[in-house]
């Protein structure tokens, strides 16, 4: 069973429930909301897929789900439209300080990003090295190229420095990843 980001098995109420993964997610959600408000892009996080097994009806107009389970997502978490282009990405966090473990991304998510690129869309990942306070965008093309040409199970941070785009925290939007998209995909927007 995979737990979605931010959902931790714990009964201790003192433990910080929304973990660092949740922080990246809420920063991206806030940024997307800001982009929508200023009408720069229409990008949303997809809801977490849930397998619903049993629903109760306490009243005529109320449906209460009483048995359900998390499902593994078949695609990436975020998609939408920016400057007329289809945008699709996954956001991941690691506490590692020297590399990003590929186990964090499902194989079918990599295949999905590959399909998006083949169909003319913009597919990428956002990776936060939380203990370094560094967030990178890595183009799907570079992610796939690394996987195909390496046997390593994690991507060294140097690969992100050399190929990716380092994002800075801002007041608004919190993570201005579209600035990185403008830069990394200059050719596509010409």
């Amino acid at each position: 069973m995979h737990y979605p980001k931010g959902i931790k098995k714990t009964k201790d109420k003192n433990i910080y429930y929304g973990n660092r993964g949740m922080d990246l997610e809420s920063d991206i959600n806030n940024s997307n909301e800001y982009y929508r408000i200023i009408d720069k892009a229409i990008i949303y996080k997809k809801p977490i897929p849930i397998q619903i097994n049993r629903v109760d009806y306490p009243s005529r107009y109320e449906a209460k789900i009483v048995e359900a389970y998390y499902k593994v997502p078949s695609t990436t978490d975020y998609n939408g439209i920016y400057r007329g282009k289809y945008i699709d990405f996954e956001a991941k966090e690691t506490k590692n300080t020297n590399s990003f473990p590929l186990a964090n991304i499902h194989e079918h998510q990599v295949k999905h990003i590959e399909s998006i690129i083949r169909h003319g869309g913009i597919g990428f990942i956002i990776v936060s090295f939380s203990n370094l306070s560094k967030i990178f965008i890595l183009k799907g093309e570079d992610l796939i190229n690394f996987i195909k040409t390496n046997k390593r199970k994690s991507i060294p941070i140097k690969y992100f420095i050399d190929n990716g785009y380092l994002l800075n925290y801002k007041f608004q939007p919190r993570i201005d990843y579209l600035e990185g998209i403008d830069e990394l995909y200059k050719e596509k927007f010409k």
Copy 2:
């Protein structure tokens, strides 16, 4: 409380649980799967948004949702990429035989479709008149134009006949709506 399509309050097991709304949805899902297999388009239905209130952990690796509720979706049900373009739509069913009640579509969904069009994407609705066995595509532009120039609370079927695209059932894909998209958006694909 809004029930998502196909979820009916009933304790009678003889009642057909997956209703006609569910049929349209599964026909579109099947068509999308077919489009992905032949690599024609990458389009998915978004998961139903759920508000999760309580999760139990029967074992170390199992998370069981025991209290959750359906949320009203903030966007449309389907999106993806086709011929390099961002595609976004909502699918609705009516048992009416002469018009489509606008109450079937949330106002924020219409606004979402309007945003998508403004950003250069393709936004539309698929409406099934189930008792007539007729399914139409209506461009978002025509939907919005109707709403802005009419005070009527439903769109007459004649409006679909005059402005939309009538889809035929096929063996595969069950509903070949991309054929309609090719036709309705000829200019955009030039």
